[in-house]
Symmetry: C2
Subunit: 337 residues, 2 copies
């Protein structure tokens, strides 16, 4: 396999930087790396494996010769430039919400629905961070017992909202502890020492777009178009990693020992024993989704609860995108292309 | 009505101090106030309405002549001294978990099940903070549509664990931001910038005692002995007020407009309009339980989600205890005693 020519669009963002870290740490076979950023960063450079790479602006022809273009610059820029990248011959893995619910676009977590990649037409969508960790934990449950309803309450770190959000939690926490005025640009009602049940905009029925994303994306990835997925998405004063309190109603009674065995065999998942639980700060920079506190609903043999933690920048975004590219490389090699 | 003679046991704790604040702010008709504390505080004084009150040790006879003894010094001390207080003629309102599930002891939220007070035998239990705000929000739902299952994920502030816990969040946050070693006495795995799904001890099935309390107490207060109540209780880096993401399955289909009207009429409850939501920091020191984001489960007309916030030291503890005493005073006055 020759080195892959990879473009990263949005290279200076929280996810873009994590993509570079993941490419390096995994020894991804790179032939070339082109980094794209917004006009205000153009001309700056990022050091990758000791080499200074200049940040470029997306322009006509800039994706020619690129094998994989990993987009992480927001839905608007994906809509503007992803089709161009596909047209210029790249396979796009898009981390934004722009194309996720397009029936022609596979929405993929490689350890959950890799077969969906077979039908791609040059563009693959990377799911929402909260969804990725949920579907990975749900896959063994679905396979063994079927799913009726998922009720999930999230505890989402500020890094999901980007670098400005990380800076604001830091600055606002310092200000609060020091009795000074807190910066409130990203979070108008504050994020320091508070929890905020409001991520993205509200619809007319009172759901946030983040909650609706979790519902639609979970159904699409798990291949369960009618599954009930009820989310309350909450931003918490944590820098990195999302946690989720999940309650699942199943179709068949659950055997906890059998489920634990299946979870241990599920690639990408790390099951903690008994009452043990993962914590966001301890799990940061880990590749796997961690599950703990799996327990039976005392009143219903067809319902379980669990606690699910993952690094939202890593498995929730950068790593999953790189894994999609890796998967397609292996398919090509196996196919002799 | 003559002034009531009130004893506060555990007067120096987070809840004890809040009881004094509530007694003063509500203009509770006090004839006498006796403050009890642990041996290490005895001899110190607390200023109440400009008067220095000496902290005393619980001793035989110390509750003679007391109308109400408000206990908030932990389950062990309640077990040791509450029966004594009753025997010496006081009505005990106990904020600990010691007697809550005793069938002979009423467990009361005055706006939800005041009739349970009629049968008291000198001892009344104040429910767990997380339970109080949940049952207040659930009462209108139960009355209109019946309850099948409550799934709740909590976001509980550190003040629920007392003054040392508040100090540790402050000190650990400062240390983390300053790159220093965090104190980890109350929270061995840390509380600064993390969320911890572990409040009180685990049982053999993997539930924490806090979660089991919510289940049993909710059933007892709502008079629904078979109700399914599945909680995940999580400590979050918030100083004051507990938040809860609640999903309720009802027996009958829910009419949101009708439910909103009933919630507005529910004493002790404050319903926020539409997609608005209460935040812990904004709601601190409020008397009411605030509910926002009430919305229908898109797949099930017999299920709703909502966000519930209350001040855990106030309505979740001190205020509810004082309200129980007030309620019993009014009953006496009405009864001519």
């Amino acid at each position: 396999m020759n080195g892959q020519r990879v473009a990263v669009v949005g290279a200076t963002g929280a996810v873009g930087r994590e993509i570079l870290t993941v490419l390096e740490q995994r020894g991804f076979a790179l032939g070339e790396l082109r980094l794209f950023a917004s006009p205000r960063s153009v001309g700056d450079a990022i050091v990758f494996k000791g080499e200074r790479l200049r940040l470029r602006l997306v322009e006509p022809g800039c994706f020619r010769g690129v094998d994989f273009a990993l987009f992480s610059a927001g839905a608007e820029r994906s809509r503007a430039h992803a089709p161009q990248a596909v047209q210029e011959g790249a396979i796009v893995v898009d981390n934004s919400s722009a194309f996720r619910m397009d029936p022609a676009v596979p929405l993929v977590v490689p350890e959950v629905n890799p077969a969906a990649l077979d039908a791609h037409q040059g563009l693959i969508a990377n799911p929402n961070c909260s969804t990725i960790q949920l579907v990975l934990a749900m896959r063994p449950v679905r396979d063994l017992y079927g799913l009726r309803r998922i009720v999930v309450a999230t505890y989402q770190s500020v890094s999901g909202a980007g670098r400005r959000s990380i800076q604001e939690l830091d600055a606002a926490s310092r200000a609060h502890l020091g009795g000074a005025t807190e910066p409130r640009e990203v979070y108008p009602r504050g994020i320091a020492f508070d929890v905020v049940p409001h991520i993205d905009v509200f619809d007319a029925q009172g759901w946030t777009r983040e909650e609706t994303k979790m519902r639609h994306e979970t159904r699409k990835i798990l291949g369960e178009p009618d599954l009930s997925v009820v989310a309350t998405c909450v931003r918490v004063p944590v820098f990195r990693c999302h946690s989720e309190a999940v309650h699942v109603e199943t179709r068949q009674p659950v055997d906890l020992a059998q489920l634990a065995q299946a979870m241990r065999q599920q690639p990408g998942l790390c099951l903690l024993d008994g009452a043990d639980y993962p914590l966001a700060r301890e799990w940061a920079h880990s590749d796997e989704v961690a599950v703990g506190r799996v327990r039976l609903d005392p009143e219903d043999a067809r319902a379980i609860a669990m606690w699910v933690v993952a690094d939202n920048l890593r498995k929730g975004a950068a790593l999953n995108a790189v894994q999609i590219a890796e998967h397609l490389c292996h398919v090509r090699v196996r196919g002799g292309a």
